[in-house]
Symmetry: C2
Subunit: 299 residues, 2 copies
């Protein structure tokens, strides 16, 4: 079954101590859509300016991503520039130029409104609400977020959490949202805000999933070298939902493996700047890495 991905479609300029990488394809929706595309047909909803490189449109197309919901309008594409320190966990934003994204109002083509799997990738909660208002009878809705929205749009975010099946955030965001230092207690508090599934991303430490079936402590794939973690969280949730969309039966039966598949795609994402590594892998590479993760975690 197919996956609808709504989020940001951007150009990322990523600086590290060793290199500069201007105007890579980026944005939460780009990473999530490419990640999901390894498993299921994907419909992308986003906005770009008329400066958006044609090769990036072709890249989406090579991944068979339906672009009927991608608005291409006069103006500049959302541009983010950031710099990583030697420790890849420390990042600072150099520039945020919203461009056409400032006026983004996601409009779902009729053909998109009954997509069974919906990923509200990281964008402003008001936009995520706006998408949900246009969706009919989804099988599963997952929302991702970032610390920015906890800081400047908490009320909207809390309303959104109540409307989704699954909520994804990282560990520091979970602590901030719940004012709870203990992650297991934080998970319980987030369930009380509405979602049936809560997924906490912990980067190199893996993730924790809380569902009616209990907790799942998922490993991350141990990488020898992290080139650029930008988009890893988006790749994780995109891969996760793509995998779920590819499986028959109920969500609970497949959620754990979906998380592992998401982690596998995210690990590839970290091995190159932007999407440069992810777009070079095939489904087989993901399968091999999932098998490795089975071996690494078995006891």
């Amino acid at each position: 079954m197919s996956v609808l991905v709504v989020g940001s479609t951007a150009l990322d300029s990523i600086k590290t101590p060793k290199s500069e990488n201007p105007r890579l394809l980026g944005g939460s929706a780009s990473h999530a859509a490419i990640a999901a595309s390894f498993f299921a047909p994907v419909k992308l909803v986003g906005i770009v300016g008329d400066d958006f490189p044609k090769r990036y449109v072709q890249l989406y197309r090579r991944h068979k991503i339906d672009l009927d919901g991608l608005q291409i309008v006069p103006g500049k594409t959302f541009h983010w520039a950031g710099e990583y320190e030697i420790n890849m966990n420390n990042r600072r934003t150099l520039t945020t130029e919203l461009g056409v994204f400032e006026t983004f109002s996601p409009r779902l083509p009729n053909s998109h409104q009954e997509t069974p799997y919906v990923l509200l990738a990281n964008i402003a909660p008001t936009l995520q609400h706006h998408v949900l208002d246009q969706i009919r009878r989804p099988k599963l809705v997952i929302a991702d977020t970032m610390d920015l929205w906890l800081n400047i749009a908490l009320a909207d975010l809390l309303k959104l959490i109540r409307r989704v099946d699954a909520f994804v955030l990282n560990d520091s965001e979970a602590r901030q949202l719940t004012q709870e230092d203990n992650l297991v207690s934080a998970l319980k508090k987030i369930h009380r805000l509405g979602p049936k599934y809560v997924i906490v991303k912990k980067g190199e430490h893996g993730s924790i999933v809380s569902s009616p079936a209990g907790l799942f402590v998922a490993p991350a794939f141990p990488l020898h070298k992290v080139v650029d973690p930008t988009g890893a969280g988006d790749s994780f949730v995109g891969g996760l939902l793509g995998y779920l969309a590819s499986r028959k039966g109920n969500i609970d039966a497949h959620l754990r493996r979906a998380v592992v598949y998401g982690s596998a795609v995210a690990s590839f994402c970290c091995e190159g700047f932007g999407l440069t590594r992810t777009i070079r892998i095939r489904r087989d590479d993901i399968e091999r890495r999932v098998k490795l993760m089975e071996t690494l975690a078995r006891f």
Copy 2:
């Protein structure tokens, strides 16, 4: 088979935002010996002053710990006082009174010199060397350490690492020791320093084990409440080695489960101040928690 544990035997005064707990039984050897005692006979080597409470001697005895190697000498027992912030990852030392520990020179009774499993729990590397010099034909020697020794006794520590089969340290120590931010690369560098097995503790994020058989990414038991993490690392390595000593066959065949058993004991340690929770559990409780960890990690 039996386990020899050498390390500090201390009185710990532990303060948290909510309570004060003066003069608890503490020290790396106490935590490790009690943890190992659930699985195998333990011989403790350490030193205490004549102020050492009799009830703590009785506590060791209840765990059937051989105290022939425990020196009780005139003077004060090593006393450590520390304070935890609300976030239990932040701790500061208030007092360190070495007392009789200042003149500690571990002397192994004859009966201890052929113990097959040896744990050099966290103490000064020179003392760990001194123990190794008295050991004959051990089956497995594990050394633990702490950042202090990386800072003030690095040369001794590097010499020690070359002499042991397994080296245990936490993630920030691994990064400090190797000047390598990536943990997988740090593990490789530590192998080059000598040990066949390298075990990196990551607290609530579990641990990573590197051995000739490859990597093992081990989960931590997700706790709803951490009361006091003091001694968790010592409990981990004590439980780990105790479990190994209880199994027939080669180390590699049992190492993964040993790590999980160590984690289980460490999780109990965190649920009470000092050893107060650990001494109330039984082997059955550990088995149940290991089974839970299997359920939590399965995919």
